[in-house]
């Protein structure tokens, strides 16, 4: 099976080299801010001849761009929205590529004491009990949706006096949290790459509910005949290849591995 896949990939890759072309891919800010894109894109260009043009937006906007046919494929991390996207016929299928994890960031002094929390839900409950300032993305992105699920699982309805919805991307929200010295949930990659940490520190991580699955969704050429479906196929082949696995698993910041490759062999 694996050799078949590799064979398929090589075949796709070689056909890919013949047509040097553009492919528009909507990705989430967390993917871009992690710096992984800067490592993968040149390799993709080298192996397949595809010039991947990234549109860095929140998951909500990425899905909308895919629905409108303004991009050729989408790489996001919000399972429910992705499945709805495929079910509505906007995408041909959903292919899991890799995951990273969310972490809880907060003032180094940790006034709510979430360092000692047993689970992520417990940590959020402690923040709520202490009425400690918490910055939410508030932009309907994958991270925001994951955060809302966590609040629901903690049985907490965040109150307006300490819960601040920024309506901003991950980096901008981290800037706000740094300015307010507030708690925030971030993906690990964005946090490690973030330059303005101020008094913030990583306080809680490791609960499996914080795992963050990225999936690749090609836009359905039946709805939008102009999309570069062939290019999307080539890219999917590359993203699930051994070479991609090596690069994704090998990508580190400050000695920490950020992403874990977990693509399954061909979906169909």
């Amino acid at each position: 099976m694996k050799s078949l896949l590799t064979g398929l990939w090589v075949a796709l890759a070689t056909t890919g080299t013949a047509f040097a072309e553009d492919l528009k891919l909507a990705v989430t800010t967390s993917f871009q801010n992690s710096g992984l894109a800067e490592v993968l894109l040149p390799a993709i260009k080298e192996d397949t001849g595809l010039e991947v043009q990234l549109l860095v937006v929140g998951t909500g906007q990425a899905i909308r761009l895919g629905e409108a046919g303004d991009v050729d494929a989408v790489l996001v991390h919000s399972r429910a929205a992705e499945e709805a996207f495929v079910a509505a016929g906007h995408g041909t299928h959903r292919r899991e590529i890799m995951y990273n994890d969310f972490v809880l960031i907060g003032p180094a002094g940790d006034p709510a004491g979430i360092k000692a929390a047993a689970t992520a839900a417990d940590a959020l409950a402690r923040i709520s009990d202490a009425s400690a300032a918490f910055v939410s993305r508030g932009d309907d992105s994958g991270t925001h949706k994951a955060e809302k699920r966590l609040w629901a699982s903690a049985n907490v309805t965040p109150a307006a006096d300490w819960y601040r919805e920024a309506g901003a991307g991950m980096g901008a929200a981290l800037n706000i949290a740094a300015g307010m010295n507030a708690y925030i949930m971030s993906d690990r990659a964005s946090w490690l790459n973030f330059g303005n940490k101020a008094d913030l520190a990583l306080l809680f991580a490791g609960d499996p509910v914080l795992f963050n699955q990225y999936a690749f969704l090609p836009v359905n050429p039946k709805n939008h005949p102009h999309v570069n479906a062939k290019g999307a196929e080539v890219l999917e082949g590359w993203l699930t290849s051994d070479r991609a696995q090596g690069m994704i698993d090998g990508y580190q910041i400050n000695g920490e591995t950020l992403f874990t490759f977990n693509a399954t062999p061909a979906a169909q």
């Binding site: 528009k24 800010t29 801010n33 043009q53 990234l54 549109l55 860095v56 937006v57 629905e67 409108a68 046919g69 303004d70 991307g169 991950m170 980096g171 901008a172 981290l174 800037n175 740094a178 790459n193 973030f194 330059g195 303005n196 940490k197 939008h224 102009h226």
Partner: protein, 234 residues
């Protein structure tokens, strides 16, 4: 404060080493905005002249509308242009979304009312001087507009520079319609937004200083070419 110094240092470093990415996005910024400016002037200056020389029923209303649209929120313009140019929008077949052309279209829409309003203000004064002469010479409307536009060229330069200033510093609209794609639609302002998002304030400030320097350089260049301060009247 240390960020500020670090930003100045970054800006100098980027300029001294002629950083390839910086040169690329700066040239793209200039190309997009100058193209938008030329198109906008071609539309707005005749509108300003026409509003000065011609009396018609909706004239007051048109002037008031243009003045109001000077404050057109770029992010709304961006959203409307996005919806129109999107693949599923009415002009989707042209495939313009996320291209520099889409950014130019958005900037043209943003600065046309501004340039037309300022041009009209300037030419209205001139028209009151020229009115009797041009009427007595039995000129056509086209000739009157041409005379105003030529003799008012110094004041119109100000209108154009105001338009340039608004377009070059704009980020809300071009972020939506251009998408800030590296090597494709990334310009100075969207790059600044990106670096801020990464928390790299020094780099963002560095790019900001480059943007300011470029705006000053363009203004000076236009003034020198136009020899504004050397001849007598204007």
């Amino acid at each position: 404060m240390s960020d500020l110094w670090e930003g100045i240092r970054q800006a100098l470093w980027l300029l001294v080493t002629l950083d390839a990415d910086l040169v690329e996005i700066t040239l793209r910024s200039l190309r997009v905005t100058l193209t938008a400016l030329v198109i906008a002037c071609a539309i707005a200056l005749p509108i300003g002249a026409l509003l000065s020389v011609r009396r018609f029923r909706a004239r007051r209303f048109t002037i008031a509308l243009l003045n109001a649209l000077m404050g057109l929120p770029p992010v709304v313009v961006g959203l409307i242009v996005y919806v129109l140019l999107s693949r599923s929008g009415p002009f989707g077949v042209f495939g313009l979304i996320f291209t520099p052309t889409a950014m130019i279209i958005a900037q043209v829409i943003i600065i046309v009312p501004l340039i037309a309003s300022i041009a009209h203000q300037a030419l209205r004064e001139l028209w009151s001087d020229y009115h009797d002469l041009l009427i007595s010479l039995n000129t056509t409307q086209r000739q009157r507009m041409a005379a105003l536009l030529w003799d008012g060229r110094r004041a119109l330069l100000t209108a154009a520079l105001a338009g340039f200033g608004r377009a070059i510093g704009e980020v809300g609209a071009i972020m939506i319609v251009g998408g800030n794609i590296d090597h494709h639609t990334r310009v100075l302002t969207t790059a600044i937004a990106l670096e801020t998002g990464k928390g790299d304030f020094a780099m963002a400030l560095g790019l900001g200083f480059v943007l300011i320097l470029m705006a000053i350089a363009v203004n000076l260049a236009i003034h020198i070419i136009g020899r504004t301060e050397q001849e007598g009247r204007w």
